[in-house]
């Protein structure tokens, strides 16, 4: 436990930026997903990344922890370049991060308690299992699921799975928590529960958070800063008020949930085809 607490305090440099991307470009098979992105994530703040589906938000957040390596550009964690490190060195850096995956990514074969203990058992020798039970209980209590220790992920609802995944993400008391679409697939009430949890962790643990989301209600509620990605580039970077009043038409369409004219034209053309081919009278004949 002491080691884990020390881990939380390790590298406690009083610097504003904790993660930095410099001219990061990522392509898959000639298709450029991220195009020359430079970004600084401020320590202790909540940065929300928004953007349409497929614009590279998840790819961007996976670069912050180097689960993906950039095609070009650099990634820094506390002034140390990390994108060129080997997996063994990276594993030590990754202990400073927690990552909440889109579907939770809980291990199906492990119980809730075993999932939460996984990162601890991988890095520390456990001598006192009673203390570990207390730790699991505390982490689950933080996400409101104490008592679910012996459940398996298959028995949990979508919202519960995300909360357990969040409990696992904070098991090592990380300095940075990355959230990949934490409210996707959840009803509005469960989405709000997750938002409240994110705010609670921010208040109680003082962590730096980077959150990828489509959900503007969540974004406005939790963000200190909102960044919008579009076609592999950052087109907006401001606080919630700044985003609301942003002059870029793509930003306005996105935050107001409006389709653009080109998409609507395609839909109108396709609906004309449907009408001509599949009207009930065709079948009646």
């Amino acid at each position: 436990m002491e080691n884990i607490e020390r881990n939380n305090q390790a590298g406690g440099i009083n610097s504003d930026s904790i993660i930095r991307l410099e001219n990061l470009t990522k392509g898959f098979g000639g298709n450029i997903i991220l195009d020359n992105i430079s970004l600084t994530v401020e320590q202790g703040k909540t940065t929300v990344i928004i953007g349409p589906s497929g614009c590279g938000k998840t790819v961007l957040v996976k670069h912050l922890i180097v689960l993906l390596r950039p095609s070009s550009g650099e990634v820094y964690f506390r002034k140390q370049r990390i994108d060129n490190l080997g997996e063994n060195e990276l594993n030590k850096i990754r202990m400073h991060y927690g990552f909440l995956f889109q579907g939770g990514a809980l291990f199906d074969s492990l119980s809730v308690a075993e999932n939460i203990l996984f990162p601890i058992t991988q890095h520390y020798k456990i001598n006192d299992w009673r203390q570990m039970d207390e730790l699991v209980k505390a982490k689950l209590a933080m996400v409101g699921l104490d008592g679910f220790q012996q459940f398996y992920p298959a028995k949990l609802s979508g919202g519960q799975r995300k909360r357990v995944a969040l409990a696992r993400a904070i098991a090592l008391n990380p300095e940075v928590i990355l959230y990949d679409e934490p409210t996707t697939g959840l009803d509005p009430i469960n989405s709000d529960v997750i938002d409240e949890l994110i705010l609670k962790l921010q208040r109680e643990l003082g962590v730096t958070s980077v959150i990828v989301t489509h959900n503007m209600t969540s974004a406005y509620k939790i963000a200190d800063r909102i960044i919008m990605l579009h076609q592999g580039k950052i087109i907006a970077d401001s606080d919630a008020a700044g985003i609301r009043n942003h002059p870029h038409p793509v930003v306005q369409r996105f935050i107001n949930g409006q389709a653009n004219e080109d998409d609507l034209a395609v839909l109108r053309a396709s609906s004309a085809i449907f009408q001509s081919q599949f009207l009930p009278r065709d079948f009646e004949e």
């Binding site: 997996e87 594993n91 030590k92 995956f101 291990f107 199906d108 990162p119």
Partner: protein, 269 residues
């Protein structure tokens, strides 16, 4: 056209390179795992899943191999009045060739498919990324225990297949076809050597390693979606099957050369 062929050839070379790297990483992780007692529970769990639960199917496979061999070979040998030699033919075929190969093929289907499907599903649901995000090497945590379990237990499973193959052959030859029991065992003992049994068991070591490594690799590199997992399972079985046959041939050549080197006089008799 040339460009397409070139691109596919380049992709194949890259895949071979990745697979070689995977084998190397898995080998290193496996050796390190053996040196660390903390990883023994992981290996033990996989041994239970891979080894213990495969015993029934492997025994059934072995028994049918022995019984079918007896039925097929009896007429040929009886035509020459050599039916009492049936035991040699069955037992040497079972322990040296058919037992190990068919047991390995059964394992490729049962274990290989399950390993690829499990790891493939973990891959597409980001569980492997989750392992990495928590600072753990997925090859050490996921691949090494499975490869070690398969590597260590396949030889034992082959012993089970051999045992039931021998008993199946005996049952059909002696009980059903009426061959003299004493003659059956006597000819078997004179024809089958410890060397033949050893060859079969050593083959199991290689077959087990190949099945587990290929299946884990296919799971780790599986494409997204249900189709991707299904395709990875098919590819894993086909690749395991081909590698079993190729290894069988290569090991037969090597063992024959070794045998001829150390026991040259015996081969002349």
């Amino acid at each position: 056209m040339i460009e397409t062929v070139g691109a596919k050839a380049a992709a194949e070379v890259v895949d071979i390179g990745r697979f070689s790297r995977f084998i190397w990483d898995t080998m290193i992780s496996s050796i390190r795992s053996l040196a660390k007692s903390e990883t023994y529970p992981l290996i033990w769990t996989q041994m239970n899943i891979i080894g213990v639960r495969s015993v029934p199917v492997i025994m059934i496979t072995g028994a049918f191999v022995g019984m079918t061999l007896a039925i097929q070979a009896y007429d040929q040998l009886a035509g020459m009045g050599l039916e009492e030699h049936l035991g040699v033919l069955i037992n040497i075929s079972v322990v040296k060739e058919l037992g190990p190969v068919l047991a390995a093929v059964m394992l490729a289907g049962r274990i290989g498919g399950a390993l690829t499907a499990e790891l493939g599903t973990m891959n597409v649901t980001e569980q492997i990324d989750a392992v990495r995000s928590m600072g753990t090497d997925p090859i050490r945590y996921l691949a090494a225990p499975r490869v070690l379990a398969c590597l260590l237990l396949t030889p034992f499973l082959i012993i089970y297949a051999d045992l039931l193959g021998i008993l199946g052959g005996y049952f059909v030859s002696v009980i059903q076809l009426g061959i003299n029991s004493r003659a059956y065992w006597s000819f078997s003992a004179s024809g089958v050597e410890l060397w033949d049994v050893t060859i079969g068991i050593v083959k199991g070591l290689f077959f087990g390693g190949a099945i587990a490594t290929i299946s884990c690799y296919k799971g780790f590199t599986c494409k997204e979606g249900a189709h991707g997992v299904g395709q990875a399972c098919t590819e894993a079985f086909v690749a395991s099957f081909i590698s079993i046959l190729a290894l069988d041939f290569a090991l037969a050549v090597i063992f024959k050369a070794v045998y001829s080197t150390f026991w040259p006089i015996k081969s002349l008799v």
